[in-house]
Symmetry: C2
Subunit: 202 residues, 2 copies
DNA sequence: CGATTCTTTGAAAACAGTCAATCTGTGTGG
DNA sequence: CCACACAGATTGACTGTTTTCAAAGAATCG
């Protein structure tokens, strides 16, 4: 039943905000959240954002998996982000500055999302302490994670980066095809195949 | 005269906050800023942060240049960040979570810094609208910049990354020795030397 | 089942890293 | 002020890794 499903979707976000903010979400705050976010389902292979468009929405991933990537002159895809349950996805630059994005975001699996605009997010941040805390923590974790990724990309070999992923995001390896993992690591699919073979026989 | 110099240092930060926040800094706000930040000079080669220590301070760079880097098992340095005038430097993870840092930060030139602790920053953000706006914008830019760097590292060749740096941060090439630029780009100094030769004769 | 997409493998070519030697410029102490 | 030392940059020869191209083998989906 569609109505019942949507209730569950919002509950997922409520749970997430309570856990992240460390404080339970009051009923008033939950109302604000429900007003701000729209539920939206997208099918596998469907775009959430296409390069050239402005990224008008940010999405909280209730269920499913997406990727953010660019396409270069030669038609090669470069994946800069994987998102799964309880992660947020948007092109931050485009979303906050309302400029056209250079990235695509599409669904790797059928997805259930809760989406909001930049204004709605700002309104929520202003009016819900729990949500504000959540976003602050999120920003912080995001910034730490990207720093780690930069560090990995300049200081580690491809093999070590793969092992790192295996260690820290083993679910990625199950949910995303290997050619996408390769793109995410910045290497060719063939190289990843060989690295995997070598690394896993230890 | 030491007193006069310090006045100028704070003026640099005041100017920065006015420009960044888009609103002039009131005298009250400026007082808060002056109370929160301590002026500190460090000499070339001196550490601002050593790996293993907690990064207790964030610094606004009034003058000079610094780098943030890790040292791996083989003793190789990997530079993840260069800071010059009007930039901020700290190890964000260590600074906000008060955990020991894996990074070093040291001065490449003699530096004039304005430093503050995490509590002082939070206090300022809470009590000065202009400062709050500045930090929000800063976070945003920082996050966009790191995303660009990740994208560059997985999608561009070493040569293109060098040309990108030449285009977007030409001052880096003048102020930091080439072996450090190489470390920042994630390549060996010899490779950078050859790339440079090839790229600049066009 | 057939078709498409993904993965693996092989061989050759391109690329970046390492090591060692030389060259250049800077700054310091005699 | 010179000479020397030192750090950084360049070059060459070699090694090792990654990419590319092509083809064959799995796996998945309609």
């Amino acid at each position: 039943m569609s109505n019942q499903q949507e209730v569950n979707m919002y509950d997922a976000l409520r749970k997430y905000v309570s856990e992240y903010s460390g404080a339970p979400v009051t009923d008033e705050e939950f109302e604000l959240i429900k007003v701000a976010f729209t539920s939206r389902k997208i099918r596998k292979k469907q775009y959430f954002l296409q390069a050239g468009d402005v990224c008008k929405y940010i999405a909280f991933i209730v269920k499913g998996a997406l990727r953010q990537y660019s396409v270069d002159d030669k038609g090669l895809e470069h994946i800069i982000f994987f998102g799964i349950e309880n992660w947020w996805v948007s092109d931050r630059e485009s979303f906050t500055m309302l400029t056209p994005s250079r990235f695509n975001i599409d669904a790797i699996e059928d997805c259930e999302l809760l989406v909001a605009t930049s204004e709605q997010m700002q309104h929520l941040v202003s009016n819900s302490p729990a949500f504000r805390k959540t976003i602050a923590l999120l920003d912080q974790r995001h910034s730490i994670a990207t720093q780690k990724r930069i560090h990995a990309s300049i200081s580690m070999t491809a093999e070590d980066r793969f092992l790192d992923l295996l260690q820290n995001n083993p679910t990625f390896l199950q949910r995303f095809p290997q050619n996408m993992i390769a793109s995410y690591l910045g290497i060719s699919p063939e190289t990843l195949s060989r690295i995997r073979k070598k690394a896993l026989q230890k």
